[in-house]
Symmetry: C2
Subunit: 385 residues, 2 copies
């Protein structure tokens, strides 16, 4: 397999974007990534999208978006693994370039979530859980993650304050990100005083419903060199699954898909987690960031909460997590999220993060993207020049 | 890239399967394919599925089906390109094995379409067209293909009788296929006398709404040899897109995605269309079989209809088409269709087609799977031992 790099990145503003349609959003991000890479032609593309059928009444979006991007007749395929769809698009694009099947591949993600009412958005998101069991019994995603939070609190004495610190840290980062949906700085008191959504998760423990798109261009390392672009190499990729339903797991505070995907990506990169400088992780809820960091082996189980309170995961901490603002502050247009994580890591490794957000001296970053309540996860490791 | 073969195949009965759920269907087909291959373990899987969100209120089906198949934590990904989703699953599995990322990969497809009312099924299928233009103006798939049929009739003097002969031939084949949804033999008079759905397409010109699943096991050729299985090699794959909307095309009687995908697959296999012995093609409507055969270069434009009447595409003709019965008689569970085409080709190339259906002396078969009204197409070429 060939060495592969990300040579261009682009994304739209994340937010409630009433004036832009599903196809507008994708094309804007894709054109930005192509311009950034300096390529006018792509050989193939993947689109991460969770539920265009339920959100905008449109399937067949690979073909639709290739058409609107003006790149037909190239192959264009939608991939779906719920909220890990974007990470999966990155992985398939990596595979296509590494195998030699294609040279310049676009991996993008898009979701337009605000054109439906709130009940429909909650229903669409709940289809990432087990519809016949969890869904039929009325479980929604805040409810499922609230159960994980309660179990974690009971087992490890995790507190609501610790969860609040995750949100505060991610909003502090997001406040410096011009693409973030909710760039406001917040305090622990504000999180704890905000409306309860599903005990113990307040509304400020939850990532928002968002419109947005993101895209990257993936190519062989030699092409990056030929184009004179910094080659941010993909040195590891891992994908794994777990039971789709929480009730089938022995311990709901453990995310086995994240453990396995991280292990595989690290093995492929011939690295240990200690060799990674920073990460973008899937903080769909504040509790998720903690259980993910523990599953990845960054912290022992039960230790991620106290470490967050100590500031270890802040931008200037030992292991910065979600310098982009994460799903929490930047926003979570489901299919776009996994690709936007790669956009952030590439910017950081190029030293091109916006003013104040750049982490100094980083060489390797990891993106962890999650589907549902951990039913799937994709981990990607990138290395700068 | 390594040489790759299909080493196992399986499918469920196609039909209106009230007693089997979405997950039951997939697991039945997947287990059949694994047994046929003689493998107890797979490294990765792809699921072709068009619209589980609209048909069964479930996304994240890669994870769901890996869980129910008992193979988690392996990577499992849903791919979607409308009715070409199954073909896309085959293509991604091929890429993963050819690249060396994995050894034993399952490519499956499933759709459960009969648990909704007819209006919802028509709506869900229409999301394969351009929802904002064709969909909003009320165009359904029978309507879109009826426009193609009218244009073809005007341009090439194609007749309703010619279309009827496609249906009659495919039902004659399907009558010998124990997995077919509608195995009844029919006559030209019956087709022409059946209810008009969208002029000039009668109900017997249309493929049905179907529940079903199919699966194949893809592995390196050496593994097939080690397991003592016939290695049916994948020697060519091509995928292409076109405008998603019919109204954006210069000539709606031409399927450019099929032309390009066929050309790419043949180039990869270093073959000409004349080197192929038979094909399974996407006869979602009778007119589709004719325009596909013309786009593939089997016949000059306007010649596929008369050739069908002459019996050239019959099981004992010069170029047998849809020996399985095709979508028309076997049924069309959208996501499963592209994989079921491969199941048929493998059976034929192994000499294992059911009594009466086996075509003699075939060495190479081609599967053509189509998304929407030709917005995407996947072509796969297989070679027997």
């Amino acid at each position: 397999m060939r060495d592969v790099a990300v040579i261009g990145v682009g994304m739209t503003q994340f937010g409630e974007l009433w004036e832009q349609s599903y196809r507008d959003l994708f094309v804007e991000a894709a054109v930005a990534a192509m311009r950034d890479a300096g390529v006018e032609k792509i050989d193939s593309m993947y689109v991460g999208c969770m539920s265009s059928g339920l959100f905008v009444g449109q399937e067949h979006v690979g073909s639709l978006l290739a058409d609107y991007l003006g790149v037909a007749p190239i192959p264009a395929l939608r991939v779906e693994s719920a909220c890990a769809s974007g990470g999966a698009a990155i992985r398939q694009a990596y595979m296509e370039v590494a195998s030699g099947m294609a040279d310049v591949v676009l991996a993008g993600g898009v979701e337009k979530m605000t054109d439906v009412d709130g009940g429909m958005a909650t229903y669409a998101l709940a289809t990432a859980a087990d519809a016949e069991y969890e869904g039929f019994h009325g479980a929604t995603f805040p409810g499922l993650y609230a159960m994980i939070a309660h179990a974690h609190m009971q087992k490890f004495k995790t507190t609501s304050e610790m969860l609040a610190h995750v949100a505060v840290k991610n909003h502090a980062n997001g406040s410096l990100n011009p693409y973030a949906q909710f760039p406001a700085k917040i305090t622990v008191e504000q999180v704890l005083g905000s409306t309860m959504v599903a005990d113990p998760l307040h509304i400020l423990d939850c990532s928002p419903v968002t419109d947005g798109a993101s895209a990257v261009i993936i190519a062989p390392v030699e092409l990056a060199q030929k184009l004179g672009k910094p080659a941010i190499r993909i040195i590891g990729t891992g994908m794994a699954t777990d039971t789709i339903a929480l009730h089938s797991r022995k311990d709901i505070t453990r995310l086995n898909a994240v453990e396995v995907a991280t292990k595989k990506a690290l093995e492929m990169a011939k690295l240990k987690i200690e060799d990674i400088n920073f990460a973008e992780v899937h903080d769909c809820f504040t509790i998720a960031e903690l259980v993910v960091l523990e599953a990845m082996g960054v912290y022992k189980r039960g230790h991620a909460g106290p470490a967050t309170v100590e500031g270890e995961t802040a931008r200037d901490g030992k292991f910065p997590v979600n310098p982009s603002g994460g799903l929490k502050s930047k926003g979570h247009p489901v299919g776009a999220t996994g690709v936007a994580q790669i956009v952030e890591i590439v910017k950081q490794l190029r030293g091109e993060a916006e003013e104040g957000r750049q982490i100094k001296g980083v060489k390797r970053g990891l993106a962890q993207n999650m589907g549902g309540s951990g039913g799937s996860s994709v981990v990607t490791i990138l290395e700068g020049e």
